[in-house]
Structure formats: structure tokens, C-alpha cells
Symmetry: C2
Subunit: 563 residues, 2 copies
Amino acid sequence: MHRLRVALVQVNSVVGDLDGNVARVRSALPEVAGCDLAVFPEMVLTGYPLEDLVLKPRFVAESRDAVEQLAAESGDCTLLLGFADPGPDGQVHNAVAVCRGGTVHGVYHKRQLPNYSVFDEARHFDAGTEPLELFRIGGAKVGVTICEDLWVDDGPIDRLVEGGAELLVTVNGSPYHQGKLARREATIVATAASSGRPLAYVNLVGGQDELVFDGGSMVADPAGRIVARAPRFDEAIVVVDVDAPEVPPGDGDLPVVDVSGTVAWPDHAIPPPVQPLDPLAEVYAALVVATRDYVQKSGFTDVCLGLSGGVDSALVATIAADALGPEHVHAVLMPSRYSSDHSVADAEALVAEQGLDERTIPIEDAHVALRGLLEPAVGEHGDGLMDENLQARIRGVLLMALANAHGWLVLTTGNKSEAAVGYSTLYGDTAGAYASIKDVYKTTVYELCRWRNVQSVHAGGGPLIPDSILAKPPSAELRPDQRDDQSLPPYDVLDPLLEAYIEGDRTRAELVAAGFDADLVDRVARMVDQAEYKRRQTPHGATVTSKGFGRDRRLPVVNRYRG
Amino acid sequence: MHRLRVALVQVNSVVGDLDGNVARVRSALPEVAGCDLAVFPEMVLTGYPLEDLVLKPRFVAESRDAVEQLAAESGDCTLLLGFADPGPDGQVHNAVAVCRGGTVHGVYHKRQLPNYSVFDEARHFDAGTEPLELFRIGGAKVGVTICEDLWVDDGPIDRLVEGGAELLVTVNGSPYHQGKLARREATIVATAASSGRPLAYVNLVGGQDELVFDGGSMVADPAGRIVARAPRFDEAIVVVDVDAPEVPPGDGDLPVVDVSGTVAWPDHAIPPPVQPLDPLAEVYAALVVATRDYVQKSGFTDVCLGLSGGVDSALVATIAADALGPEHVHAVLMPSRYSSDHSVADAEALVAEQGLDERTIPIEDAHVALRGLLEPAVGEHGDGLMDENLQARIRGVLLMALANAHGWLVLTTGNKSEAAVGYSTLYGDTAGAYASIKDVYKTTVYELCRWRNVQSVHAGGGPLIPDSILAKPPSAELRPDQRDDQSLPPYDVLDPLLEAYIEGDRTRAELVAAGFDADLVDRVARMVDQAEYKRRQTPHGATVTSKGFGRDRRLPVVNRYRG
């Protein structure tokens, strides 16, 4: 039996920030100095995903320089550092360097490149094809792989095990979505158990454009038990002693690169337990981290948003306050002639409860002025949709003006149900840099509000989101007595249908067979398809379902298929 | 020698429009009835590119149904019909069916799947791996391939030639960009000459989201001479007799599927010559077709746009008038307190010359109203950038309102130089459904205007774009005496630098080595990088350079790399 002291180092890298990422890794070095092995996430030095940054040869070369720089600083603890590795003929590999004692002992190139869902790795990387090797670290033969390598049948993990690996390590940039952890854990446990080898899994943490990485690094023992866990959605260093079986030499053994010898650990490091997150806590944490990282990694400190008195903007304001601090959240109330008194009162109550910064700008004067300008050109065509969109766009213009004047970033407040069916005004309520709840269905918006209120009450506070906001029927308040259910099916009918159509990729016939009303299916599928042009122009937001809009679902805008 | 009568059928398919595309193919059948072989473009029955429509199994199944339907209608002429072919285990192939006499004689699956630049075929398709075969058509052994199969060394073309092919046919969905035709033709000629086989190349035509296909189908003889050409940017059926050498049977011959026998053609069909397009004519044609197809395939007939009196909106109006007819183009003049008299006069002169529909809506009242609403919240921060953006956004709101009221589609008027450096107002001048000159540098905008004027004069008309528009210095007119060159380098300096940085993917060091001023390189590269968040929210427009913004250049929004 080999006992290795392993540090799982969850870093929140920033894409493109080579110097910053080197500093992030460097700041962890004192804490891992007493370990055999410190495992960092996939592409820790470059950030992930890089997209077409990979096509800039200078960037890739500098990524290799960053590895050399950290390798030169490495001491007794072996560091596994992810980076983009330039090949001799213009290739680029998604790579991990094995660094110790001032030098790079070897580099592993990812062999399985995911090219589905949000992943485009076949566009960006060349698959590793070099002969496999093992690294002797802390006396044990360690097999190193990267993310997708773990998920395929008959992949490099099997070869490493057959070739004598005693400990398996995988570095990952695995984005969060609801239900992902269970799938991930099942694969990790099954791989450890079937191979009879401990498996150390380290994942990236933090938000990047449409993605949020949830950390949750872990170690499974050869019996398939999880023996160490890192927290989720947060940076962390978890140190754990891992016992790896000694595998006697055999005929099919892979070559072994000697990196470090056995250490006799007197004690046994066992990390503290991590409380699992319930499903709503998990989504909420994802939204907070994604919002914070988008804002701060973009160089902003403060955000503004339109606070209507409705449930969507209430949730986004609350997420933003949790992410950035309430003093950095500038709520803007922009009542129109159609805004109800209770909406304004509800918004003001939320502002007071949470301590947000607030200003009120009634839009009536601009509404009158713009209607006046348009009157000669539109006549009676100016009522209805045009007038509704006009109000939403005035609000968008005001928010952007405030953002320009004060250096704030605008958060949009639309939810996934609205984005799906196009129940929004382009350049109006969709105007802004980040859409915090873009991938959250309306029914989940309510659940998250209630969940957050319960947490607040448990912590001795009041409900952050006034109950009256949760109790009233949803309305855009763009015409007298408007309610969402005049234009849309009730959300408890709509959302399951949307989920089946979007995440499930179910066809019309399948949806009807599953019990959805045929006319409703036709109507909703048509709305979803036709709203593609709007979604093409809306900002990024964190993906939290198994299929978000954006890089995860790439449909043509000009598209006549109705099926 | 075999003589085959071959029809090159350039079809403008619509993505997702299976019934419509079947009808488009069917309408060509009478005209090709007397031929041995009619070759249609890649994915003619589904449209191309399909993007994630391919992930809908029902759509793929219906695409196969469409092939069966047309095969059942096929007579003596063999039809090569592109479609998405479902495999037994969920695979989808980019495929061509060989149809004659009421039946499908065989199907070829594309073997080389491009996954770079604008292409994502590794995401969507499974590569063909079945044994190759030849089809005996008109007595000759014909080897069929699809697009990328032609472009790789040591690909299926070589195998088909070694295996006895006497005629090579390739069906294509090859998007246009400047200089593409020359590259394409060089490859076609070289393949024909080196193989000693005639090669028939058929390309798609028409616009689809960010892409425009230019047709330009052709046939090269075994000596590498182009013996037939179809027009570019237009649907066409070109019939040509192709002489293929008889290749004696050999050991390595591929299996041959008998489709049709020899016809003794009494005469020799030689298609009429096609005049080549000069470089500006080519770009202009691409922009007209792309604009027309985006508008009409989206179900619209009419467009509106803001006509400022500047050169960009003048060009977009002219393109739109050529694409849709001047009566379908609604020019909106929206002067502000900073608009010069000559701008309004120039815009009015263009409207009169081209016979556009026009209305004038001064924005002053809305500008005053919005500044008044914002005053308490912004104070002295309201001047400068905020005020400039405010004016642009008022115009965006007005255009969208007119579009809502009248059922028009808004064209935006920004050029590539502006999109590159972010010299635009999000939700202002970028608000609209289609960006006709999004991929045209400012210097090219001037060239296109002058070129179009010359054409008009040659045709006996006046200059469509008043000379005064071309003569004055570019200005956004958002503050007194503003000129573009106060914020940006002169366009004849800026554009070559942008081209080297964007299309050339040159790094900072390379650009400086190439003679660009180091400070200018830093400033411009930083502007380009930081404008990514704006480009993420702007509408589609046709790609006409070798690298457009959009699917062709996918950079992260949160990205700290400055290199």
C-alpha cells in the first residue's frame, strides 16, 4: 500500500489571464508544500473554455511559458498544472504538466475531445496520441487524465489501469447543471470500483460567460466510496491521504517516469465533511457565483437593474446583493402609466429590506414624447405591441444611460420561460450585459425566492423578497390589467412542456404522445422556434439546466422547420 | 470515351423547409429530364448549414422521406440529391442519394467533416466509413463526394480514382468570401488535371444567416480546363456534355452500382460563357443576395433603416433597394440637434434619386424628455458618452417602433471597422434584425458606393449615392462638430491593421514587425478585444471576408488576454 498526501486545489481561473492564473496557483503553493501531489483543475493556467483564443499562437506559447515559470518554482510537492500546449507543427493540446523540483517531468495530452453540447474541443485542440506513461509520485504509479478521458468507455483510463497505474487522477473543467453532480459521482465511483484504484477528481470553480463550474472535487477509494470532498462553488484546498494498492509489475506495464519517492506519513489527513447542497441551494449558489464572476471578471463592481415589483427582478436583485453586496446593487424603479401602486410599493419594500441603492424614474414624459414623435408615422398602428415595446425600450435606454453615467453593469431580469417563448422586448428588458436567471424557468424562479426567504428567516432576518411579490399574478404591466396568462399558458403547464421540448429535444409527436395538448404543443413550439432571432441578440447568462440557450443549443435564425 | 450530359443545378434552398426544397428540386426536373445526370448542391433538401436542427431526429427522418419522395418521381435522368441521412443507431450523415427510375440506387456519406471556421460538422454529423463504390451513370463510372472530401490530401477522391472512377462529381455548400473562388477553382483544376478525370462541381446559392453561398458551379476537363460555368449568386441550371475517359478494369477496382447506360448524344451541349465578376461586383452581389434572402426567407417583404446622410446607411439603403425594390425600403431620417443641414439634404437627395419611401422624425423632443428624466440621477455624468448613446438609442427605439407598427424588418447600418473597434451604440445603431454590411470595412464601403454609382451611370442613370455623401468626412454627429477621426485612426490606417489582426490572426509582435505603430496596435487590439460583448448582441450579417465576426471568430466575452 502506498499512502499519498494529495491536495485537491479548486481554483477560480480567469480566461486569458495568464499572469493572474500563475499568481492564483502560486498563492496555493505554501499550503500544498507538505503534500506529495497537488492537483489543479483543467487548464488552470489559461482559464477554460478558451474558445478561439486557442487560435492565437502567441497565447498558446505564453501558456507554455507559464508552466515553465511555475515548474521552476516547484519544490517537493508534485504539481499537476493544466495549460494549452503548443505542438511542433501548429498543434495545440489540452494538456497537464507534471512539475516538481524545478522542472517539468512530463506532459499528458487529453485524448478524448468533447465536441457536443457546450463543448467545441474538436475545433480547438488536437487529441493526444503519444504513448501513455505513468508517473511515480510519492512512490505510487500515477495515471493522469483530463476530463472527457474519464467519460468514455474503453478510453485511456482502462489502458492506464492495465498498464500498472496504482492511483488515477483526473483534472476537469466540468460545467454545472442541475443533476450533473449525481452523474459525475456515479462515473467516478464506478471507475474507482471497477478498476480497484483510488481516483482523485479535481474540478474548476467559478463563472465564465455562459458556464459556471461548481468545483465539488472528490476522491473515491478502490471500493468506490467517496473519502474526500471539496466544497462546491467556492475555491478550496482539500488535503487528503489516499491509500493506493501496490500493483506488482506485469508484462503490459506502461513506462514509468520517476518524479518523487515514498514519504512515511506519520498521521492520516482526513478532510472535514462537506454538507451536500439541496437542489435549490445548488442552483442559487450557481447563480450567485456566475453573476459575481461575470461582473468582477469584467472589471466592474456595481450593477443596476430595473426593479418592477415582479418576481423576476426581485430574484435578480437578491442574487446580485448576495453576489456583490447590497450597496453595489442599484435598483431602478421606472413606473409607467400602467404600473400598479402595489408594484411600486413591493419594489420599495424589497429595496428597504435588503438595503439596496435605489432611484425612481417614472417613464411617462419619455413615453409621451416618443408617442408624439411616432404618431404621424404610425397612427392607429401605435397601440398594442408597439406601445408595449416602447415602454420596455424606454426602460432599457434609461438603464443603459445610468450604466454609462456611473460605470455600472446592467443585469437583465428575464427568465428561461420568457426567453423560450420570446415573451420579452429586444433592446428593452433584454438590454444589458448579463442575464442572471436566463436559464431559470419561471416556476423555479418562485421556488428560489421562497427558498432564499426561508434561509433569511432561519438566519434571523425577515423575508428578503416580500410575500406580496410572490403572491400576485405575474404581469408585464405594459397595458391596463395585463397578466402573463393572457398571452401564455399558466407557467405550471408551460414550463414542463418547454423543458421537454428544449432540454429533452422531444418532437411534436412525442410531446403529444406524452400527454401534452396538441394545439398547445404546436403553439409553444412555434413560439420557441420563432424567438431564436431574439435570443441571438441577448446577453450571456449562466447555464443551470441540462440545455441552456446559447452555445448549448445552436439553431439557425432563418429556419422554416416546424416539427 | 463516355459522353455524359450533365446538369449543374444551383438551387437556393431554405433551411428547414423540406416541403419547399422538394418543390424547388421538382421544379427543375422538366429541364433536366433529357440529361444523364443532374447534380444538386450539398444538403439541397434540408438547406445548409442546419446547425442543431440535425439533433432533432424527426427532422432527419423527414429529410430521408423527402429523398424517397423525389426518388419515386425520378425518371431517366439520375438525380444526386443532398440530405441528412439517419443511421440505425442515431447517427446522422451528411449524404447524397443517387436516384433514378423511381428508386434510390445508393447513398454516399461525407467522409471529411470540416470543424473549423464557420463549420461545426463534427458536432452534427458522423463521418461516412462504409466501403466506397462507384455508380455507372450514362455508361461511365462516377465517383460521388461531398464538399470537404475534395479539399483534403489523400482523401476519398484519390481512392475513387484508384478504384476506377471515370467522372468525379462533388456537391457543395461552400460559403462565399473574397478570394474564395480562386482557391476553389485552383483545387478543382488541380484535382481534375492530376487525376486525369473530369470533375463536376456544384455549389449552393443564396443567403443563410451569417453565410452567403455564391454558386459558381463548374466543370473541369481532364486537362484541367474549365469547360462550363454557372453564374454566381443566382439560381441556374447549366447543361453541359462532359467527356470522360474510359478506364479499363483493374485489380483495385471499387464495386460499381449500375444506374443508367450509355446514350448516344447526337450533338454536343456547350453552355454559354459566364462573365466573371470583378472584386467589387462580387462583394456587392453577395450583399444584395444575402440581404434579400434574410428578409424574404424570414417572411418579410419590407425593411426600414435610419438614413443619416452618411456613407454607411447610404450603402445599406442602396443594397436594400437593389435586393427588394425601392418601394420596399423605408428610409427614416431622425435628425438631432447635432445633425448638420447637409446630412439631411444628402439623405433626402438619396431618397429622391432611388425612389425610396421616406419619413422624417426629429428626435429632439424625446432627447429632451429622456435627458430631463435622467438629470436628477446622473447630473454632470449625463454629458459625453451617455448623451451620445442616448441619441443613438432613441433612433433604435423609433426604428423598432416603426417596424412593429408596419411589419417591417429593421436593417442596421454598421460596418466592420465600427463593429471591430466597438464604435457603435448597443441597442442604438446596432438594433435590428440584419446587418447588411457588418463584414465590410469602411474603406470598402466607399469603394462599393463608388462602384455602384459607376454602374448606375453606365446604365444611363445618375449616381444613386450623392457625391456629397462620399466627399464629406465621416461623422456620427452625436455631438457638435464630431468626426470619426477624433476617436479612431484614419480608416486607411485602421482597416489594414484590423484586417491583419482579425482575418490574419496576427499577434501584437507580428503586427509591429510588419510595420504598424506599436501604440496604435495596442490601442486597436484592445478596442477589438473589449468590443466582444457588443458583438455578442448584434444581429447576423453576411460574411464576405475570410473571417467574419460571429461563428467564424468565437472569442470569450470575459477574456483578459491582451496579446
